[in-house]
Amino acid sequence: MSAKRTKRVLPIEENCMGCRLCEVACAIEHSEFKDPLLTFFQGKPQSFTVVEVDGAFSFSLNCRHCDEPYCVEACITGAMHKEHDGRVIVYEDLCIGCYMCVVSCPWGAVNPKEGSKKAAKCDLCPDRELPACVQACPNRALVYDTSEELIFFLPEEEEEPFIEG
């Protein structure tokens, strides 16, 4: 419903070769150390993006930052929140770890945080200009853009029912 479209990380599966660098980059960016060795040996690495593999092809699936997010609807405390800039983020101090968001997200993009009873998800890397996964991708299989140009994938007959007059 927002007038301004949210920029999100979009996968281009034709370009992905399943190297999983995006998973590693995400885990490093969201660890307390921001260092590869410390993250994997001392921290609790967790990646918010998942490389999905089916046979020879693959793509990296991440939070869609939906316009009407399932996880925000399901959140009983208001910890899961849609920001004005369109990002869907979780306020950890409000989160009680009921995992209603985990079971609601059809993309499987919200998951329990490693090592604590909180939800964790993609925050589009607020400290960086470009999300870590996009920057790490050697193949441009992830782009950071609005999804406006992809609207033509909508089936035509679905245009009518939900807007009238």
Binding site: G55, I76, M100
Partner: protein, 474 residues
């Protein structure tokens, strides 16, 4: 004259306010709040009782939310009745209020089964803040508690009271814990957690009477089997039913809940219902039924709000989604997850058990579509199953991996049998349940564009997803 009158002040009311304000910035909104506080998070009351969560976290929305949205809230006022002819609402403070559009978000109320001597002190229900305060006031003198019902509320109350150091016994009519969610096998996992925590439970039995001493205080409950359990407090948590009191004899059609059409409108024009009190379409059953869960209430409130403000939007349907954890046990479920047997082959049940790790996954399939699931222990990516229920996709061609292999970030959690990246020849045999196994057109649509799956997904006239089948290009 209120342009929009909203009876009730919980999640459905909050989302309706947001929806109305996204279309109509000025129309007067009046909210009737039966309780004297802003909208709050109901499930949190057990966390607060247990002392896990500070009380300041209780509100779902604060006073500033109502101010920012220019909403007038009447605290301590409930809806008593509706005159659909004169379009007037009767309030509990004796006032009347004319309205243009009315949203019935009056919620549910706890069901109290016929138990002898159930009226009187020391017997509680547990759904509101005042219930919590009543129980908390007496907390110091409580020693032994009987919780009637092993549903969501019952288990959370039992956990909270146990954490307060009370002796807790749970009595459940059905033969399993969380009977709406778990089957016998799943219940075993929950029972193990209860045993470990030292909570006793009686399954397959019900409370028929409460014995009180001369001063009226509870001293014992009697079960149907004849067993007597000593206790000083009883918490009745056998379920919540839609609250139909305010619409009694008003001409608004009701069944188990207030019947609404696909715009959440009742049979009376301009009167809408949403949340626990509404009986709306359920996409799993294919018929209307009340779904008393938080996400459904939010969605219904939102769609009702849009329709009230004149923006036509269809409510596609809902289904129960639940997630609950107690004593280290965690289950996420949706839909018909408790189905136990394959009734004449109309259901197919897939299970995966890993006793060592305490992981149990179960999927119920009917007509090649996912109808429900329960995931115990490892709940990562449990939402993938919920997405399948929303899309009503044909799951037959990845059924073999549906509950056994779920894709996780393998660089971080190496899976058993993980294959080297970029080695396409050895990857050929890999098929792990996740978005990659979905049809090409479907995943292109939903990974590239942010949309509600249930609204965009195209169905044929039988309600079967058109993206079914393996149209994989890879």
């Amino acid at each position: 004259m209120a342009k929009y009158l909203i009876a009730g002040n919980s999640v459905a009311a909050v989302s309706a306010i947001q929806a109305i304000r996204s279309i109509d910035a000025d129309g007067e909104i009046v909210v009737l709040s039966p309780e004297r506080i802003t909208a709050y998070c109901r499930p949190l009351i057990t966390y607060i009782l247990a002392g896990d969560v500070e009380e300041w976290r209780l509100p779902y929305k604060r006073e500033s939310f109502y101010q920012q949205n220019n909403v007038k809230v009447l605290y301590g006022v409930a809806l008593e009745g509706v005159d659909t002819e004169k379009r007037v609402a009767y309030l509990s403070d004796g006032d009347t209020m004319p309205f243009e559009k009315l949203l019935l978000a009056v919620g549910g109320k706890p069901f109290i089964p016929p138990i002898e001597n159930v009226e009187g002190p020391d017997v509680y229900t547990y759904t509101t803040v005042s219930d919590m305060n009543a129980l908390r006031e007496r907390l110091a003198e409580i020693k032994r508690v009987v919780v009637v019902g092993a549903g969501m509320i019952g288990m959370k109350v039992a956990e909270a009271l146990k954490k307060c150091g009370k002796e807790v016994t749970i009595v459940e009519l059905m033969d399993r814990i969380l009977p709406m969610v778990l089957d016998r096998k799943g219940s075993e996992f929950a029972e193990r957690a209860l045993d470990k925590a030292g909570v006793s439970y009686v399954l397959g039995d019900s409370v028929v009477g409460i014995h009180r001493d001369a001063s009226g205080r509870v001293k014992q409950v009697e079960l149907k089997s004849g067993t007597k359990i000593d206790c000083d407090t009883v918490v009745v948590a056998v379920g919540v039913r839609p609250n139909l009191e305010p619409v009694k004899d008003s001409g608004i059609e009701t069944n188990r809940g207030i019947i609404v059409d696909d715009t959440l409108e009742t049979n009376v024009e301009g009167i809408y219902a949403a949340g626990d009190c509404a009986e709306a379409y359920d996409i799993i059953l294919g018929q209307k039924r009340p779904n008393l869960v938080w996400p459904v209430a939010y969605r219904q409130g939102f769609i009702a709000g849009l329709n009230m403000a004149g923006y036509r939007r269809r409510y596609v349907g809902g289904f129960p989604i639940n997630s609950i954890g107690f004593f280290g046990f965690q289950v996420c479920s949706a839909g018909m997850s408790a189905v136990e047997d394959e009734v004449n082959g109309s259901f197919e049940i897939l299970t995966y058990v890993d006793e060592e790790k305490g992981v149990y996954r179960k999927a119920v399939i009917g007509n090649n579509r996912l109808l429900g699931f329960a995931v115990i222990g490892d709940v990562r990516r449990a939402g993938l199953y919920t997405g399948l229920i929303w899309s009503r996709m044909d799951v037959s061609y990845f059924k073999d991996k549906l509950v056994t292999d779920v894709s996780f970030p393998e660089a971080i959690y190496p899976l058993e049998g993980a294959l080297p990246a970029m080695n396409f020849s050895s990857r050929k045999s890999i098929r792990r349940f996740g978005w990659a196994v979905f049809p090409y057109s479907y995943r292109r649509l939903f990974t590239g564009y942010s949309a509600r799956i249930e609204e965009i997904c195209a169905f044929d006239e039988k309600g079967v997803c058109l993206y079914g089948g393996d149209d994989d290009q890879g």
